[in-house]
């Protein structure tokens, strides 16, 4: 009988795994060095020094200050943040919409179920890129030019360059943040049934919000020359991309939700009915906990898909990582291998991050479920 180590693997197996690992690493290193040699031999520049150089180009939308004098490294961050923004927002919206459509599809209401079914069949069978173009040009073509903007008082303007909103200036921004945090604290304390802290937090919220909306300085969009300036802008590329990504992915999520709910044994539902639970309670205490265990793993891959699909942004000029970094920066510097390697590493990290989060969530659920 072979001797086994603590977790049940034969020592020989470790040896083999170590050897294979070394072989893979050596192979990888050989590839890298060989590539570097060849690049040098062909007179192609290599290395990461370019990241510090001035970018020299502008972008349509940036969450951090960026202009032509900023570095390529900063351009990378701009692209990365824009990618994360559409991904996070897309995932959130796709989940809400997907769950709603998935449940609607199971509804006893014939019309609602049919509409949800049509939604799923239409959206998941049309290539995503076409949908992105559809939303983009649909948005662009229906909106007026800046001079004919739709206006909501002095605080919001909508035209084919985007949605322009008044925005509180820096100090007010912080006050707004504090107010929102305090509001969350109120909700949390109330749920825990602590009235004292809740009342305190509520006062802070009211004070902060009251100040922001009455006394604080707001920056209002103003029509100057070609377009509005000031405030914040939601560009059409962003809106089109988020709408396209979330409606498309929602179609897949809806199917996953439907399958998850249908996987809950009929007896459980009947038992819940027998106990006299109302539909909301039935969903919350009986169906959801069991369905989620079926839903979460495939949901994870939909989140990964959405994030990767967000790289189609480049087609409609949304400045995501692929457009800004693997596009413009690559072209200026010509350092394809470095730029593509960094870009791939980023997508890989985001994907592994999402997978790890969802994995943790799934394990937590699996433990609390039936001991199978």
């Amino acid at each position: 009988m072979r001797r086994r180590s603590a977790d049940g693997h034969a020592p020989a197996a470790f040896l083999w795994q170590a050897l294979i690992l070394i072989a893979v690493l050596a192979g990888g290193a050989a590839l890298v060095f060989n590539t570097l040699d060849n690049l040098a031999a062909r007179g192609i520049s290599s290395g990461f020094g370019f990241l510090d150089d001035a970018a020299g180009f502008g972008v349509t939308m940036s969450l951090i200050p960026f202009d032509e004098t900023a570095s390529f490294a900063r351009a990378f961050v701009v692209g990365l943040l824009n990618t994360l923004l559409v991904s996070v927002l897309g995932v959130a919206l796709a989940t809400v919409l997907g769950v709603a459509v998935g449940l609607a599809r199971l509804s006893p209401n014939w019309l609602l179920a049919r509409i949800a079914g049509a939604y799923v069949e239409t959206l998941r069978n049309i290539p995503l890129l076409l949908q992105i173009f559809f939303w983009y040009f649909a948005v662009l073509r229906t909106l007026p030019a800046p001079r004919g903007s739709y206006a909501l008082g002095e605080v919001a303007f909508l035209n084919n360059r985007g949605l322009y909103l008044a925005w509180p200036e820096a100090a007010a921004g912080w006050a707004l943040a504090i107010g929102l945090c305090a509001a969350v604290a109120v909700a949390w304390s109330l749920r825990r049934g602590r009235r004292g802290p809740a009342a305190g937090a509520a006062l802070v919220t009211l004070a902060a919000l009251g100040w922001v909306f009455s006394a604080a300085a707001w920056e209002r969009p103003q029509l100057a020359g070609f377009n509005f300036t000031g405030g914040v802008t939601l560009i059409p590329e962003f809106v089109a991309l988020v709408v396209a990504l979330s409606t498309y992915t929602a179609a897949f999520i809806a199917e996953i939700v439907r399958a998850g709910v249908q996987a809950v044994p009929k007896g459980q539902v009947e038992a819940a009915d027998a106990l006299g639970l109302n539909p909301a309670q039935k969903l919350r205490f009986v169906i959801a906990p069991q369905a989620l265990r079926v839903i979460v793993p495939p949901l994870t891959s939909q989140y990964l898909n959405l994030t990767k699909n967000s790289s189609l942004a480049a087609a409609i000029a949304y400045p995501d990582l692929v457009s800004v970094f693997a596009g413009t920066v690559l072209n200026i510097t010509g350092q394809a291998i470095e730029v593509i390697a960094i870009t791939m590493a980023v997508y890989l990290s985001i994907s592994l991050g999402i997978a790890a989060l969802m994995g943790g969530y799934n394990r937590a659920f699996a433990l609390r479920g039936a001991a199978s």
Partner: protein
């Protein structure tokens, strides 16, 4: 997915591609593969029958007829500006004839060589008529539609920065989308090479409602590109271009080239057409390399007129692209 493919292609090809001479590769394959644009009237554009036409594609055909004896042996691979250099580096194409601007970085840091200038261009702006803009200097605060991965994108930034003017770039990967977005009113101005503006304006239904501003904000010398380190191939492409320019200067064209071959007593023409001298042999080609190129595609002036000039819908003035002795910049070294 595209990223992955590009990276794999780049690293595999750069790791594994042999340094085989391009001329041998082309001869063995029996075809010349040129990287062209995805569709730009006047330079490389598929017509109704799917046949590529334009100045760039004809330069490729001229090289094919010089090297392989037949212009029909040229094959075309449409590439975005972004993909084009990687495609050439990795050996997916033998050369680029893709309205590519000759710049220092591209020439020195990418392992590529620019061969010659076949079209002197400059960057311009197109705007809607009636918005009260008649000079680029008035574009402060404008939103500008532009192609990704081009010199255009960078010149745009330089131009506004130098004048302390603000602008918002909207950057697309394909010209079709740039045009569509401009048309839908997303941008106040569309910027690219002037020739590109003339070509793109033809695609607008209301083309008379758009005007190309007189300002030229950059130098865009466009020409073919080959890989660095294959001097023999570089010479062949370069002298094919020079042969077409010299042919125009010497009055040798598609219709009279065969007559000239036998009848001309001008030693310059006799050397060009292979009646005298060793021009072809010096490059590893036969004596009639240039004769065939001129017969099958025409001299430079004929190409220009056919694709960009008076015989084309673009009607671009020859301007700087006239021969040196007619007030232009085209000057080909002598064949001797």
């Amino acid at each position: 997915m595209r990223i992955l493919c590009a990276a794999l292609a780049a690293s595999l090809a750069i790791t594994a591609a042999s340094a085989a001479a391009t001329l041998d590769t082309v001869r063995q394959r029996g075809a010349l593969v040129c990287g062209v644009s995805q569709g730009l009237a006047g330079f490389s554009n598929p017509d109704a029958q799917g046949r590529w036409t334009g100045l760039d594609t004809d330069i490729c055909r001229a090289v094919a007829s010089a090297v392989l004896g037949d212009a029909k042996k040229a094959r075309f691979v449409p590439l975005s500006s972004k993909e084009s250099f990687t495609a050439l580096q990795s050996g997916a194409v033998d050369m680029l004839t893709r309205n590519t601007t000759w710049t220092q970085t591209r020439d020195t840091a990418l392992g590529l060589n620019f061969v010659a200038t076949i079209f002197y261009d400059g960057q311009g702006f197109m705007v809607r008529r009636g918005v009260g803009v008649d000079s680029a200097e008035q574009l402060d605060g404008a939103t500008v539609c532009v192609n990704a991965g081009t010199t255009t994108e960078l010149n745009l930034a330089d131009y506004f920065r130098a004048r302390k003017m603000r602008y918002t770039p909207v950057v697309f990967e394909k010209s079709d989308e740039v045009l569509a977005a401009y048309q839908a009113g997303r941008c106040d101005a569309y910027t690219t090479d002037q020739s590109g503006l003339y070509a793109q304006r033809l695609k607008l239904q209301d083309r008379n409602a758009h005007t190309i501003l007189p300002d030229v904000i950059s130098k865009e010398p466009l020409g073919p590109v080959v890989r660095q380190g294959d001097d023999a191939w570089f010479d062949i492409v370069r002298w094919t271009v020079f042969a077409l320019i010299n042919a125009e200067e010497l009055g040798v064209g598609q219709t009279n080239v065969d007559g000239m071959r036998t009848a001309s007593a001008d030693p310059r023409i006799r050397r060009l057409l292979g009646a005298d001298g060793r021009a072809g042999a010096n490059m590893g080609l036969d004596a009639e390399w240039a004769l065939r190129a001129i017969r099958q595609v025409g001299n430079y002036g004929e190409l220009f007129d056919r694709h960009l000039g008076k015989a084309s819908p673009l009607m671009i003035d020859r301007g700087m692209n006239r021969l040196w002795n007619k007030g232009g910049l085209l000057y080909a070294p002598p064949i001797r």
